[in-house]
Amino acid sequence: MVGLGTWITFNVGNDGEARDSCTEVMRAFFAAGGRLIDSSPMYGSSQEVIGYGLGKLGRPESLFSADKVWTSSGSAGPRQVEVSRQNWGVPRFDLLQVHNLLSWEAHLQTLLAKKAAGEVRYVGITTSEGRRHGEFERIMRQHPLDFIQVTYNVLDREVEARLLPLARERGIAVIANRPFQEGALLDRLARYPLPAWAAEIECRSWAQFVLKFIASHPAVTCATPATTRVDHVRENMEVAYGRLPDKATRARMVAYVEGL
């Protein structure tokens, strides 16, 4: 229900102090029952930092490793996946996704072949910020996808119209990226008090309010907030255990945030 994103936050290069700090975030994430960590070759050193953390934590068995293929060359895809796997230090990925539909025809073919060979468990595609939804929908209809990854939060709800219902219909799992609009949404909401009725759905922060909205959509499998702070990852993970909003409360959440 709540995963761990690594965009920007885990790209700390060779900074040993920062790598240890990311490891502590991962430790708190696993301790709270977290499983899915998502990354990409596009995210600088994030994969290596995940690998560093997993090594320190003894590669928790509960890990669900999600990564992407991101290269314009179809033939370079398998090599990139292998480098990513080595960076993570895992025997195989649980999920491989075509990042932002880049050269998706060639990569999807490669990933589906890998799945058939048992080299990856699940295959998916990603987009963000509402880009190429028309093409995204066509691929969802025409190819045997296990996962899709899209931007979804209380303000960015375009996917509710077609992509999320289609995912439910076809039994495709959904990862919601950019739940906090890379922090901009929480910065904006921080200027206002949390509504008193948020306590009814066991929210004690805006971050939990936003995550509960995402996680309560019946088509959403997992949201992937990214953070560099242990207290934030614990706060995010509480969402997975508390009460979730029903349909009426979700409508109230949207109306409240849009009215701010």
Binding site: N11, L101, R132, E182
Partner: protein
Amino acid sequence: MAEWWTYSLSDFLLFSPRTYYRLFELYNRAIWPMQLVALALGAAILGLLRVGAAWQGRAVAVLLAACWAFVAWAFLLERYSTINWAASYFAVAFLLEALLLLWRGGLQGLSFRPTPDLVGRAAVSIFLFALVLEPLIGPLLGRPWTQVEVFGIAPDPTVIATMGLLLVASGRVAWELLVIPLSWCAISGATLWAMGSSDAVVPALAASLVLLLAIWNSFPRADRSRRMSRSREEAATP
């Protein structure tokens, strides 16, 4: 890139400001006391500007090329590329600039002599700014001294100092040597802007000023004098 217009600068930012500035901190710690050597090189270049010997241009070009090559290898390739995959391409561009400096300065006899006019004074001021004042900007904005960016070590002051000197390069404006520095200012300014750093204006202003002065300098000297005296006459007309 499909739907490129939907992307903003922040979509291309791969790291946090904290990580970016920590990079300078770790870099400074790793190469100490190269900062002192680089500052001494900067002072030597400043002194060479007053030397009239034929080898002057060659010496300045070689020192500048050494700084560009060092930044390419030690910072861009060894450090920055760990958080920005594009940095290896930047390193190639910096090495290319080092080679261009060696070619134009070392082999073609370029000299760097400030003229006693607006462009000459501005050129020395830009060089001095990069050498002395630019490293102070970070600490003045509240960043620790350990993250200081020094000429010959960090890209921005190296690029800005070089652009200043190129304004007083002998002969025609050395546009072929200005392309990479101006492009770097655009990249660095955009990066700092996306990070919300207020010093994003530094490379942007430096590049704009150098570009304007280079365009001004590209007019033949006689033509410039005619324009200046014409504007003086117009100003004196009641």
